[in-house]
């Protein structure tokens, strides 16, 4: 008996460690989200149409299976909201945390859909998956009023609409922002953060030259340059803020144009000058460590990093602020959309009840709970401007929160999106590593166009 008592916690600890492991490369940041925000106390909102749902489903003994969050406070949030939903409606919810690494989670859903399995009713869907999974997801449009859909950020709704069907509902959504050192801007005589990429380049140069005198590892600008999905996000921001509307325009790949070449030449010039040479291996965590340890003047990252820069051990507390990413003259600043949606499987045996659970989870009240409890960025403007949410996420001031969102071309590539994105980030990574943009971009264009005509 005694031995069992010892083994149980050991086994628990081991599974805990193992379950964190795959998260490290991709979403290492998420697990630390809670640090600065978990203090906020808020309780789960009641289900708005509870009485009707209780009458309709309460005695049917339905139990839904929901594949939910696995990082940060996401799983706790799922537990709290699902318990409230079950209490109010009588519909049980069995929660399965998804695999932490995004590719594993993608594979899990692929296998489920290929097997036409009814095992999953409701699931979390990454912002780049609706195109691939559309054939297997319930069209939510008939279940929601136009007004309810209109509350959501239009760009994300467009992303989640495939062939006229709303296959997923936006739930929480990141977007790229610029972190900058207020103290260093002041020290080197800059009155405001950079508005254009050229301005960022020259400011970073000046600050780096000055700081290098006392700190040989100081860098002007850090971002995500590794050959992975994060670089597709960064590159989309560079291009969309410099006159190239996106990777695909009017059904054709649009990377091989003079503006894109000029912008990518600029980005290439950063590597080894204002950015460390190693930036071509950086993911979010690497860039974040450079900034939070006081070794960088500017950083491109997602909003989650705000809390990390305020956490114990940060060297930039009180010395940093955030703003929108720069844009070339004549273009608007943009932020690439990241984040998660909720969707209902077509193979579910309880589609109406599943939609009700999704309706509750993506309601304004639940998004507000999610923002305050788990520190995740709401997808509704009304929630983002809520005073309580602003208190928890001060960077959501209107000038930043309303920045133009750009989405990766997941819808148009559909099931081939991951392939297309790989073509993009491998090519851009080659450019950052020194290859000439005008020799790499035609190849990317050809491959993307070939993929577009593939299905």
């Amino acid at each position: 008996m005694k031995r069992k008592l010892v083994i149980a916690p050991l086994a628990l600890a081991l599974t805990g460690v193992l379950s964190i492991v795959p998260a490290l490369p991709a979403r290492v940041h998420a697990a630390t989200r809670q640090s600065a925000l978990s203090a906020a106390t808020i309780s789960a909102p009641p289900v708005p149409n509870a009485a009707a749902l209780m009458k309709k489903y309460g005695s049917k003994g339905i139990t839904l299976t929901y594949v939910g969050d696995a990082v940060g406070l996401g799983h706790n949030r799922d537990l709290i909201l699902a318990a409230e939903f079950t209490k109010d409606t009588g519909i049980g919810v069995n929660i399965i945390p998804q695999p932490v690494a995004s590719t594993d989670s993608y594979s899990q859903k692929v296998r489920n859909f290929q097997a036409k399995s009814s095992a999953f009713d409701v699931m979390m869907i990454d912002v780049v998956w609706p195109g691939a999974f559309a054939p297997y997801l319930v069209d939510l449009k008939p279940y929601f009023s136009a007004a309810a859909i209109k509350q959501q950020a239009a760009g994300i709704v467009a992303n989640d609409t495939v062939g006229g069907h709303l296959v997923a509902m936006p739930w929480f959504g990141d977007f790229g922002i610029l972190y900058y050192r207020t103290d260093l801007l002041k020290k080197y005589g800059f009155s405001q953060p950079p508005k254009t990429w050229d301005e960022l380049t020259s400011m970073a140069k000046t600050i780096q030259a000055g700081e290098r005198k006392s700190n040989s590892r100081f860098s002007g600008f850090v971002f995500q340059g590794n050959a992975y999905e994060g670089l597709t996000c960064d590159a989309l921001e560079w291009l969309a803020s410099s006159g190239t509307p996106g990777f695909v325009v009017n059904g054709k790949a649009d990377l091989n144009n003079p503006k894109a070449i000029a912008m990518l030449k600029l980005a290439q010039s950063w590597v080894g000058t204002i950015s460390p040479r190693g930036v071509t291996t950086y993911q979010e965590g690497d860039a974040q460590v450079a900034f939070t340890s006081g070794n960088a003047a500017f950083e491109r990252n997602w909003p989650y990093a705000y809390a990390l820069n305020l956490a114990t051990g940060s060297k930039v507390i009180g010395k940093f602020d955030v703003t929108t990413l720069p844009a070339e003259p004549g273009s608007q600043p943009v932020g690439t959309v990241g984040g998660w949606q909720l969707a209902v499987s077509k193979f579910s045996k309880n589609i109406p009840a599943s939609v009700e659970f999704l309706r509750y989870m993506t309601s304004p009240a639940a998004e507000k709970f999610n923002a305050i409890y788990a520190g995740l960025v709401p997808t509704m403007a009304s929630v983002a401007s809520d005073p309580q949410v602003l208190k928890a996420q001060p960077y959501l001031k209107p000038a930043i929160a309303n920045v133009m969102r750009v989405t990766r071309p997941a819808g148009i590539f559909g099931v081939n999106y991951t392939k297309a994105s790989q073509v993009i980030f491998q090519g851009i990574n080659q450019i950052l590593n020194g290859s000439d943009p005008s020799s790499i971009l035609p190849g990317i264009n050809t491959k993307l166009n070939a993929i577009l005509t593939q299905h």
Partner: protein
């Protein structure tokens, strides 16, 4: 060393053994059935299924599967990288993997052998030393790879910090991004992680060598080097064979370190990361299966070469 057996006893066993042997063979088969069933289920079936998939255009998600004959293999051997399928450069991946394999296995073997010889001698705290050695081996590779990635980081990494403090470097070096140091960095991590494992396998081999042979050699006036070349290494041959086979196969299948360090960077794909990319990111299960079969054949060649060179079968 054969024990002489009396003629009488031998005939008795032979006479009565015919049916006994038959019964024993039948019993042996019966007892092997569960193990065979498991093997067929978890090893043979996936293998056959993979080989079958390699002749199709099966996709990871969606699409209907058609048999395409040898098209996948044709594309691999012509190293076709420029179609809509955007196949990885598997030739480059194979070369990189083999480079990594040779460097890491050779260094690990030499270091491991040295450590094993030291640990085989009697000294105080040997048990503790052996346990401590295994710590790198016990850490999941993906965790230690991430840890090393941070240590190699050019801004905040401890490696640069240390080398700058002792004035070996004047400015931080990008170990992973710089093509001249990136392979060395990966090999270093693999050596750090796997040398203890190699040492332990060789140590096990050393400990079954009887000490009286060394005593006899000492009496005959053999030097330390002679003992190593004439006694230790020949008797260690089975352990060396097992170690090299284990390590080589592991090194050829390397995935975690490269995946954590380089993502899908062109020119930094190993066979395993290229296959994973092909199947999951590129959605091409058929082509990925064909690549897996090619990798399987490469690994099989290594096994055959090793078993022949070390004559494992005869021992």
């Amino acid at each position: 060393m054969k024990k002489p057996s009396s003629f009488a006893a031998g005939t008795i066993i032979h006479r009565g053994g015919f049916t006994l042997q038959k019964r024993q063979v039948r019993l042996a088969w019966l007892m092997l059935v569960p193990a065979l069933a498991v093997l067929i289920f978890v090893a043979l079936y996936p293998l056959v299924r993979t080989i079958y998939s390699s002749f199709t255009d099966e996709q990871f998600l969606g699409g209907t599967t058609h048999v395409v004959g040898f098209a996948n293999y044709y594309n691999i051997f012509t190293n076709n990288t420029n179609t809509a399928a955007s196949y990885p450069d598997f030739a480059a991946a194979t070369i990189l993997t083999l480079k990594f394999t040779v460097w890491s296995v050779v260094i690990e073997f030499l270091l491991g052998l040295g450590i094993a010889l030291v640990l085989n001698s009697q000294f105080k705290g040997r048990g503790g030393m052996r346990a401590a050695m295994l710590v790198p081996w016990a850490i999941p590779t993906v965790v230690s790879a991430q840890m090393w990635k941070w240590m190699f980081n050019d801004i905040s990494g401890v490696v640069n910090d240390f080398l700058m403090k002792i004035h070996v470097l004047s400015a931080p070096q990008s170990w992973l991004a710089d093509p001249s140091t990136s392979l060395a960095a990966v090999v270093a991590v693999d050596v750090w992680k796997t040398t203890p494992f190699v040492a332990l396998l060789l140590l096990a081999g050393l400990q079954v060598i009887p000490t009286d042979i060394y005593e006899a050699a000492a009496v005959d006036g053999a030097t330390g080097i002679q003992k190593l070349w004439r006694i230790t290494l020949p008797l260690l041959r089975p352990a060396i064979a097992v170690t090299l086979i284990f390590r080589t196969l592991d090194a050829i299948r390397v995935f975690d370190i490269f995946n954590v360090f380089f993502g899908s960077t062109i020119g930094k794909l190993t066979m395993a990361t290229a296959i994973q990319n092909t199947i999951v990111s590129n959605n091409e299960v058929g082509y990925g299966a064909a690549l897996s079969v090619v990798m399987f054949v490469i690994i099989a060649i290594f096994v055959v070469v090793y078993t022949t060179v070390f004559k494992v079968e005869q021992q």
